[in-house]
């Protein structure tokens, strides 16, 4: 497989660790990431793989941040899942196997970011299976299969592309990719603050 824009992609072989960073100095709460995610992955209304949270709205100190599954190094959702439906890929992307998920909701209680999403409760309070951000890496179904697309959405990582949300971000507040690459971009951005120079930053 050809290496993607942020190092080697896909499942096999040695690879970097996939991460998101949201630069709150740059996030303008335009929700472009949310809509790109939903449109591109055909996420149903009511399910939010990604959200923009604003604090101090309408007051000095207003800040916004785009939040989704953070693909934790030690994911609490995975630890509490009684069905072992949640797994972590070698590249750090945390995914759910919808064939195994029993919809118990423990992962939602365990997650500090509120990332796991469930379809609306039915008449007996039953939940559907969990859905969350896949880092646009599809799911356990065969790569590029119809089943993968239906249950999990696009597999852009296998295509060597960044997730839809970060690709859409107008101000490049949301960065996604190999942790080393994006932390370098962010560190350079911070280092250049106030430098008055004009080399390109991205």
């Amino acid at each position: 497989m050809a290496p993607g824009p942020f190092g080697p992609g896909g499942k096999e072989g040695s690879m970097g660790l996939m991460k998101f960073i949201c630069d709150t100095e740059r996030c303008i709460a335009c929700n472009g990431c949310v809509v790109a995610c939903k449109e591109g992955n055909h996420v149903p209304v009511g399910i939010n793989r990604r959200r923009v949270i604003t604090i101090n709205e309408g007051q000095p100190g207003e800040r916004s941040i785009s939040i989704s599954c953070m693909h934790c190094s030690d994911p609490p959702c995975m630890a509490v899942c009684p069905a072992e439906a949640i797994y972590k890929r070698d590249d750090g992307i945390v995914l759910v196997n919808k064939d195994l998920c029993i919809g118990c909701g423990y992962c939602l209680l365990a997650c500090p970011f509120g990332a796991p999403q469930f379809p609306k409760a039915g008449p007996f309070g039953a939940r559907g299976v969990m859905d969350k951000c896949t880092f646009c890496a599809g799911g356990p179904a065969p790569t590029f299969s119809e089943k993968e697309k239906r249950l999990y959405g696009q597999n852009r990582i296998a295509e060597g592309k960044v997730p839809l949300c970060a690709g859409m971000c107008a101000t490049k507040a949301l960065l996604a990719g190999d942790a080393e690459v994006i932390s370098k971009i962010y560190a350079e951005r911070v280092a250049k603050r106030g430098s008055g120079l004009s080399p390109k930053i991205f």
């Binding site: 100095e25 740059r26 303008i28 709460a29 335009c30 929700n31 472009g32 949310v34 809509v35 939903k38 449109e39 209304v45 009511g46 709205e57 309408g58 007051q59 000095p60 207003e62 800040r63 916004s64 107008a170 101000t171 490049k172 951005r189 250049k192 603050r193 106030g194 430098s195 008055g196 120079l197 004009s198 390109k200 930053i201």
Partner: protein, 719 residues
């Protein structure tokens, strides 16, 4: 845009989005770019981060853009000119203005100085609500951080003194010497895709394409370009008078139907065609609705069944489905005067047709296809060629379809900061050939009025549009041409010069000028004093519906204007000091990032509708408590004209206790009633709501007649 054009020549964004990366200061006034222009914010945030550029946001509302500001200035709606004149006055009295620039490239400085002197920090505080010491501090910031750019949008233009507001912005930049330089300029962000292109083609009632106006000379020029007999065109009009008389504007066309204000036309309007236009973006919308129900014929050409379609209750409506931009192709013009080729992605879906085809079908049925398509065999390339051949005023001669496509295809070869191609097939040219692109080999003009570059390489002086000399009312005479020594490199004349006779209609004149290193439109001074405006130097005038009756006497509006775009337009007779007693709150409207214009498209997108499902009124906690309103309650907002809408309450400190804000993109509800049943089956948008424009007040700009959406009064009643 009239204000800008009358200051220095062209009414367009002078620099470009990417150039903001060079700015040392960014001054937003009447713009919420974070929601209206989110993509442009990348350049603003870059300048803020890397250049430590102060980002000043002047707005009545603490917007999402204000959240990104270093300095937020809350201003009373409708007092922008007073604030700007206050800044200009500070620059002058403290000697912070650019003397060399003013002496060599600016006219009317003495007249400006006299008027500006009135706007002391204390006077400005009284009018605008901005503390006096803030006025001085912001002026100092502007002076200390050059070059800075000034950015505005509808918050500046949509007032009865909109054209004074725009001129005050321009004058501020002239005083700072920020014109014609990278990082400076007046960057007027256009509101919609291809608005600049639509403006350049003058989809307006007072001019033929390319700002030629409606004179016989203008008609003859275009008849020649189209290859059509002038007398035949003339025969199409009711009389010769109507060939030269500006028509109704978008803001007031409905008066041509309902005639509540007197009209100046031989017949009322009987039919209207909405072609990609939302009627719910027009103020006093309940009057628009009345007109829709009186018309004999309403034709809506749109990819969506718009609010207009749902509003018509008479059997007089025809919907013609047109394609989206993805199903057709052609050139589009960006806010910063660049052309790009938009390729077709898919063939038209369902029974929709591209606009070109719909127009062709009409022309065929009307029986003048032979005349209409004389030069047009290949669509849309030949259309672009015809535009290029005819539009010499703004230098579109070089906009050939092949060149535009070449730029689009090789966009990656252009520099992010300067827009200039480094090597490759477009080497040395600027992306999208920003107009004026005088000839088929001209590289485009990335920054207007930049005298550091030769004209043939994208430089320009200020335009000589207003003669060579002027005598002011006090007898002072001033040479309007640029001073000796001010000219582009390589210019045969090393100072100011008048325009080349005939340049607007003869490409050979343009070629001659360029050969001599000179601008076809001359080399003049920018004007602080526009004698063809009701206020030659911008002055504050209280909004027609003012919350400060005490100031109306001191700063009254204009006399009424009869036959103003064919309709009597009230100013003085509409300014009623007692109105504020019954309507104590100021109403402003604006954008939300999720929705666009009238919202036909965005409210039909389920994800955008999910994010922004409902119309609401932003109300300050104090005002909400005084009215007994809580978050989520419903409230009636009522206008002095009799418009009323029922909206949800959003309690927030974004607005001050005197002001309420309503987003304007909703439709499908009308004064408390749902019109969902009026949409064709299956086409009801996911999000419907009351159009804010139902309660936007009477009031129009004195020059352009643009509606005043940011300075009305209203009252709240618990629903």
């Amino acid at each position: 845009m009239a204000g800008v054009a009358n200051t220095w020549g062209y009414g367009a964004m002078t620099n470009h989005f990417n150039d903001i990366r060079h700015s040392k200061l960014i001054f937003f006034i009447g713009s919420n770019a974070a929601e209206a222009h989110p993509v442009a914010l990348q350049h603003v945030l870059y300048a803020k981060e890397v250049n430590n550029a102060p980002v000043i946001v002047v707005d009545p509302r603490f917007t999402r853009l204000a959240a990104k500001a270093t300095d937020y200035v809350r201003i009373r709606p409708g007092t922008d000119t007073a604030f700007l004149m206050g800044l200009i006055n500070q620059l002058i009295v403290n000697d912070w203005y650019d003397k060399e620039f003013v002496q060599t490239r600016v006219a009317g400085f003495e007249e400006l100085k006299k008027v500006a002197a009135h706007y002391t920090p204390e006077v400005v505080e009284d009018i605008t609500g901005v503390p006096a010491k803030e006025v001085v501090r912001i002026a100092k910031l502007l002076a200390d951080n050059r070059p800075g750019t000034v950015i505005w949008c509808m918050g500046i233009t949509q007032h009865h003194i909109g054209s004074s507001n725009t001129r005050a912005c321009c004058i501020l930049q002239l005083m700072l010497g920020n014109m014609g330089v990278s990082g400076g300029g007046t960057n007027i962000f256009r509101g919609h895709d291809n608005v600049q292109g639509a403006t350049d083609m003058c989809v307006l009632s007072h001019s033929l394409p390319g700002y030629y106006g409606l004179s016989e000379k203008a008609w003859r020029h275009w008849c020649k370009v189209w290859g059509v007999d002038f007398d035949w065109i003339k025969s199409r009009f009711h009389s010769k008078e109507y060939m030269h008389k500006p028509g109704f504007t978008l803001a007031r066309w409905y008066e041509g139907v309902i005639q509540e204000d007197k009209i100046y036309q031989y017949t009322p309007i009987k039919a209207v065609v909405f072609w990609g236009c939302s009627s719910n973006s027009q103020s006093q919308y309940f009057k628009v609705k009345k007109a829709l129900d009186q018309l004999e014929l309403v034709v809506i050409i749109d990819p969506f069944a718009t609010t207009t379609a749902a509003m018509c209750e008479k059997d007089n409506v025809y919907l013609l489905p047109s394609t989206s931009q993805y199903e057709t192709e052609g050139s589009v013009t960006s806010s910063c005067r660049q052309a790009q080729w938009r390729y077709k992605v898919v063939d038209p879906v369902y029974d929709s047709k591209p606009d070109y085809e719909i127009l062709k079908e009409f022309v065929k049925r009307f029986g003048f296809e032979d005349k209409f398509f004389k030069n047009i065999k290949e669509i849309p390339e030949d259309v672009t060629r015809e535009i290029a051949r005819g539009t010499l005023t703004i230098g579109l001669y070089g906009w050939l379809p092949e060149r535009i496509k070449k730029h689009t295809d090789h966009w990656h070869t252009f520099d992010l900061f300067t827009l200039q191609a480094k090597g490759g097939p477009c080497d040395g040219e600027y992306y999208g050939l920003p107009w004026p692109c005088w000839t088929e080999t001209h590289p485009g003009t990335p920054i207007l009025y930049d005298i550091s570059k030769p004209v043939a390489k994208g430089g320009l002086p200020f335009r000589a549009r207003f003669g060579t000399e002027y005598t002011y009312p006090d007898g002072r005479k001033e040479n309007l041409l640029a001073a000796e020594g001010v000219a582009n490199p390589g210019s045969e004349v090393k100072g100011g010069y008048p325009e080349f006779p005939g340049w607007k209609t003869d490409i050979n004149v343009i070629r001659q000028a360029l050969k001599r290193g000179m601008a076809p439109f001359g080399n003049a001074r920018a004007r602080c004093y526009c004698w063809n405006f009701p206020d030659p130097v911008p002055v504050h005038r209280e909004p027609l519906h003012s919350p400060r009756p005490d100031l109306i006497k001191k700063y009254p509006t204009y006399p009424d204007k009869p036959d103003f775009y064919r309709v009597y337009t009230r100013f003085k007779s509409e300014q009623k000091p007692e109105l504020v007693k019954d309507f104590p709150l100021v109403l402003i409207t604006g954008r939300v990032v999720e929705h666009m214009g009238g919202g036909a498209e965005t409210r039909s997108n389920k994800y955008l509708a999910e994010l922004m499902p409902e119309v609401y009124a932003e109300i300050n906690p104090k005002t909400a408590n005084d009215h007994g309103l809580r978050e989520g309650d419903y409230v009636w907002v009522e206008s002095p004209e009799g418009g009323r809408i029922k909206v949800k309450v959003k309690v927030t400190e974004r607005v001050d206790p005197h002001t309420i804000f309503i987003p304007y993109s909703f439709g499908g509800m009308f004064m408390g009633k749902s019109y969902a049943g009026n949409y064709p089956e299956g086409l009801v948008p996911y999000a419907i709501g009351e159009p804010a424009n139902i309660v936007v007040n009477y009031g129009y700009d004195i020059k352009t007649q643009i509606q005043g959406t940011k300075e009305g009064l209203c009252r709240l009643k618990r629903a």
